[in-house]
């Protein structure tokens, strides 16, 4: 058994079996991370470059830790402190890096489709660490892993994705993944932040009513309001957004049922999530971060090139 794809560009290209394989391998890596020595020698002859054209804390550190725990050699590239600032093209930069014998590229870029473009032009395996408003596959995988760990299943699970659906690559990857794994999806947010025709395109339900969504769902995946990608006002103020779509502790306590709150980070406290929710008993946000390393180890391990 192996992955049906050479690159991890998006959940869209994966089969259900691929997702299951990554998640089950991640379980084994999670156990590795509990050991006194949290490192295995599997990829010690592999060099991986982390190519980050966009800011990141969690994802970059999580990938770097995953790579080091697999014993891979790691190169870090940050666009702001590189020759990209002098005008070098993406392809030139990557080809120069690859000529130094690099085997895999982990890449984040603000342009949707940038990793897909690279995959067509270079021989190395590419892992998409977020491209514009398209996909963030490892985030969706770690979200799925965390949901499965907490709830025991994905099939039939009721998941609400709440907030800035329009600009969120996490939302898109999550929808593709949950759909493939047989979960039910409800997207929630103000009409200006939900793409028209999303239910026709992706087969998800849409509501503009947060209370209704919380009553229905088992898991609420709350997204960050991405002000940096909004070039026109899509709601009147952050305060108004918080009043209409912010998750508050009282709301959750009033539901009278178990609910799991997730967030891909970074959190805008007091906007999409109140602090007492983010740090409260419903939240599994820090588990998501912990699981991220195991899931990324699994993806890298499975994608590393084999002789066969």
């Amino acid at each position: 058994m192996k992955l049906s794809t050479k690159h991890l560009l998006g959940i869209k290209d994966l089969l259900k079996e691929d997702i299951q394989l990554i998640l089950s391998t991640a379980e084994q890596f999670k156990e590795v991370l509990q050991r006194p020595v949290k490192k295995v020698p599997s990829l010690r002859d592999i060099t991986i470059v982390n190519l980050f054209y966009e800011n990141s804390t969690r994802t970059r550190m999580s990938f770097e830790l995953a790579e080091r725990r697999l014993s891979a050699d790691v190169l870090n590239f940050t666009a702001s402190s590189s020759s990209a600032a002098k005008g070098e093209t993406l392809l030139d930069t990557v080809n120069n890096i690859l000529s130094m014998k690099v085997d895999m590229v982990v890449m984040r870029h603000s342009a949707s489709g940038a990793p897909h473009f690279l995959a067509k032009h270079i021989p190395a395996a590419i892992v998409n660490a977020g491209d514009g408003i398209n996909e963030h596959p490892t985030q969706a995988l770690l979200d799925a892993f965390s949901m499965k760990e907490k709830m025991g299943r994905l099939e039939g699970l009721k998941v609400a994705i709440i907030g800035d659906i329009m600009h969120s690559r996490v939302a898109l990857s999550n929808m593709y993944l949950l759909k493939k794994m047989g979960a039910e999806i409800l997207v929630v947010g103000p009409p200006t932040l939900i793409p028209t025709y999303i239910s026709e395109a992706l087969g998800v339900r849409v509501t503009y009513n947060l209370q209704e969504a919380l009553k229905w769902c088992d898991v609420a995946n709350v997204l960050r309001i991405q002000l940096e990608r909004q070039n026109q006002p899509l709601f009147s103020s952050l305060r108004e957004y918080n009043l209409a779509y912010g998750i508050k502790r009282k709301m959750l306590e009033g539901l009278g049922k178990e609910i799991v709150i997730m967030h891909p980070g970074p959190i805008n406290r007091g906007v999409e999530l109140d602090s007492d929710v983010a740090d409260g008993p419903y939240s599994i946000i820090l588990n998501q971060v912990e699981n991220g390393v195991a899931v990324r180890m699994a993806a890298l391990y499975l994608l590393a090139e084999r002789e066969q």
């Binding site: 089950s24 379980e27 084994q28 020595v37 295995v40 599997s42 084999r306 002789e307 066969q308």
Partner: protein, 187 residues
């Protein structure tokens, strides 16, 4: 009884039984006793079976040990060595569960696997074990030793049966839980 030539399918006629069901049961009992003989009531010893197929043997041995000692308090873990293989880049190997819910620091570890062949699995297992702590001693228990096939200097301490095989031979250990019948055959 003598088989007439051509009486049964070729494939079946090439099967050679190395251990029958009864022999296997006796061997498991003997291995359990030998382990106890050398590890004073398992006072400072832990049992670790190797995934995936060593577990069938280690399950049986542990059941036997519990039976003899009259206690369930045996430290028994399972180890998967996939991430430590020396051929990890030759082909993709799928990992199984590792579960060692106790410390092996300063303990005698008894590694259990079904067949000892090239010795490479045990090499990987030794590497993996050291990531869990520093055992005072590691010994090896196997059901079948394909002697003269070793590629590394590794020998068993507790042995079911040693057999002479060539590279093209395949030794298959069948277990009731998984393969209908307890039996060791040469294919």
């Amino acid at each position: 009884m003598v088989w007439k030539k051509g009486f049964i399918f070729n494939k079946i006629s090439t099967l050679k039984i190395i251990l029958s069901e009864q022999q296997m049961a006796l061997t498991v009992k003997r291995l359990a006793h030998q382990i106890l003989e050398n590890n004073n009531a398992l006072e400072n010893a832990v049992i670790i079976g190797l995934q995936p197929r060593g577990i069938f043997l280690s399950d049986r041995i542990v059941a036997e040990l519990k039976n003899i000692l009259g206690t369930d308090a045996i430290h028994y873990g399972k180890l998967d060595i996939t991430f430590y293989r020396d051929d990890v880049r030759k082909a993709l190997h799928i990992a199984n569960q590792t579960d060692i819910p106790f410390s092996i620091e300063g303990k005698t570890v008894i590694l259990i696997d079904d067949v000892l062949y090239t010795g490479r699995t045990i090499r990987a297992a030794l590497d993996a074990l050291l990531d869990f702590g520093r055992p005072s001693k590691v010994s090896l228990c196997v059901l079948i030793d394909r002697r003269f096939s070793r590629q590394l200097p590794i020998q068993p301490d507790f042995l079911g049966k040693a057999i002479d095989t060539i590279v093209s031979d395949k030794v298959k250990v069948n277990w009731r839980e998984n393969d209908e019948k307890d039996e060791v055959v040469l294919v």
